[in-house]
Subunit: 358 residues, 2 copies
């Protein structure tokens, strides 16, 4: 048997990114000066009075989606949404999208027509034109790459590296919904009720927080910002590492939707019937798949905004965006980058890792 | 057996692009105003004193390259080169590249290291930083998407749509070399002599004409411009369609390298030994694979610049770029978009079609 030592899988996603980045940084070809290259949600390129934001995402069939589970129009919607979310994460305004797509020759044209419908629907909603791209065939899976450009006033982009000791940590919306929706899909739970439908929609039709990002970008009290794509625990880790600070998260304050709580109750009860009860009330010890707090911390693809702000103004911020709840969930503290989890004020051990593609 | 009627293959590459573009144009989401969207080598987005150029290309293993034929570093080089060529095609200056790459988990890390070396080598040569991207796994082929940004003074981009009746048609460099190099690869001809090596290098390590593009951009006498990626016949067709004019091409004036002529002579002679001679001197009737004029007109991936300019100044232009020949190969005439081919001044019928991915 071949060892995995010299394989891509042994590098991991972040190892691979580091391998690529280091080679360029060492040659002075990784940005620098006013240009922000690899390492945040978008690259930032100064251009007169504005900065240009650029983000790109590659989705591959059987890795990011299954044709059997997701409607083509949902894949179209989501591929735009996740990129707009990166623009929102810096506080930018989207300017245009660029779609590269590789399709098997034997694919039904109805698939691409439906894909384009979903792509167009979200493009209309946020008034973002499709400005270019590339089409080709694939002898394997469908592959979809989006590059999205945005603009922001020069120097105004909210970065990951600017969290400050004493900041409050806030999130928009609710967390864990997308992860629970994915659970339903992966476990083949086809039953339809409004709660389950809501969670599946949160997974397949995420809302990029463009308006919220623009509002937060205008507030000097907001220091660091990013979007939650890999899960709160993992993504907050990026802010901590970039800002060289630590954090406390209050498990009790994580914003959970009624739908998430209701569906988790239902399936936890079902699974408890099957398994012997463990008599342990610690969140880490109950069934992980249907534990709403674990889903909120660990599951990815909520595409909510995560930001830190000075402690004087959280009440103003929490009321600033009509229809979108903003919840303080913890605080930035001094220390080497790591997260402490508090439940009812007491520290607990969760041993959480984020999602990686390899 | 399933019919191919409703399959992607029945649409063809340009049909697929039209399907996507039309849906967006009809919704007012395809650019417009000062913004140039789908339909040229790059999108053009005004941004203060400058315009931002954006181009994107998706390469898929087994469609665009075979891992067994091409060195990883050559794929790295070429994926940057073809995108820089699109920036050159408008006369722009490259600003940064964005690399999205999907890799099988079982791939050797040496492959990606070599790929990055080639990517870095050309990035250094043209001083273009790598500013971002995305990495993911693939359960099928390697997929590589590049998005490249450039800048150009506002309104100065050379377009496909601005050729004028009476213009001279010019090309940089020599044509057909890349196609002949690909012939050698596809026919499994491994023999090594300087001429064959040159042609293979022209296929795997094309030179983006950035410097030439910048120089031509500064000349108001240069009207339309693009790069040759699908073959002169096909690409000139795009200029004719966009500019609503016709063209004559002088077959005798096509710039052919000594290496192309020598290798074509060698293999044409070999193939003639095998086959019965047809006794026809017409270029279309001899072996197409090793006919240098057919290669120059029809084979893609030369990544030379194709431009039209007013007839008063061709001599000045042809001397303007040290080391890069510029050759007049025909003229723009009045008429519906089509190309007439002249050999020794007489019209001949070539019946040439360009390359399509489906």
């Amino acid at each position: 048997m071949a060892t995995m030592e010299n394989k891509i899988s042994s590098l991991g996603e972040f190892g691979l990114i580091e391998l690529i980045r280091d080679k360029f940084l060492n040659s002075g070809l990784g940005g620098g000066g006013d240009v922000l290259g690899i390492g945040d949600d978008c690259a930032v390129i100064p251009q007169g009075e504005n900065d240009i934001l650029v983000t790109t995402d590659l989705l591959v069939e059987d890795v990011h989606f299954l044709r059997s589970d997701a409607e083509a129009w949902q894949i179209g919607w989501k591929s735009v949404a996740v990129n707009l979310s990166d623009i929102a994460a810096m506080g930018g305004k989207p300017v245009g999208t660029f779609l590269s797509i590789a399709l098997p020759s034997s694919l039904d044209t109805s698939w691409i027509e439906s894909f384009v419908e979903g792509y167009k629907k979200i493009s209309e909603e946020y008034r973002v034109p499709l400005l270019g791209g590339d089409t080709t065939s694939s002898k394997g899976p469908i592959a979809i790459n989006l590059a999205v450009l945005g603009t922001i006033p020069h120097g105004a982009a909210k970065l990951r590296s600017t969290a400050k000791e004493g900041d409050i940590i806030c999130v928009t919306g609710t967390l864990g919904d997308s992860g629970a929706g994915l659970n339903l899909v992966l476990k083949g739970i086809k039953g339809s009720n409004p709660e389950q439908d809501y969670l599946r929609r949160r997974h397949y039709e995420p809302t990029p927080r463009i308006h919220e990002g623009l509002m937060l970008q205008g507030l000097s009290e907001v220091h660091a910002m990013m979007d939650i794509s890999d899960g709160l625990a993992s993504d907050l880790g990026h802010i901590l590492k970039a800002s060289r600070v630590a954090a406390q998260i209050d498990i009790d304050r994580l914003p959970l939707s009624q739908e998430l709580k209701s569906v988790c109750e239902e399936f936890k009860a079902l699974e408890n019937e099957k398994a012997a009860p463990r008599g342990n009330s610690d969140v880490a010890a109950t069934s992980k798949d249907w534990n709403p707090e674990i889903l909120a911390l660990k599951s990815g693809e909520d595409y909510e905004l995560l930001f830190t702000c000075s402690p004087e103004i959280p009440t103003e911020i929490t009321k600033a965006i009509p229809g979108t709840p903003i919840t303080p969930v913890g605080r930035i503290i001094k220390g080497t980058p790591h997260i402490t989890y508090l439940k009812e004020g007491r520290e607990i051990d969760l041993n959480i890792k984020g999602f990686t593609h390899f």
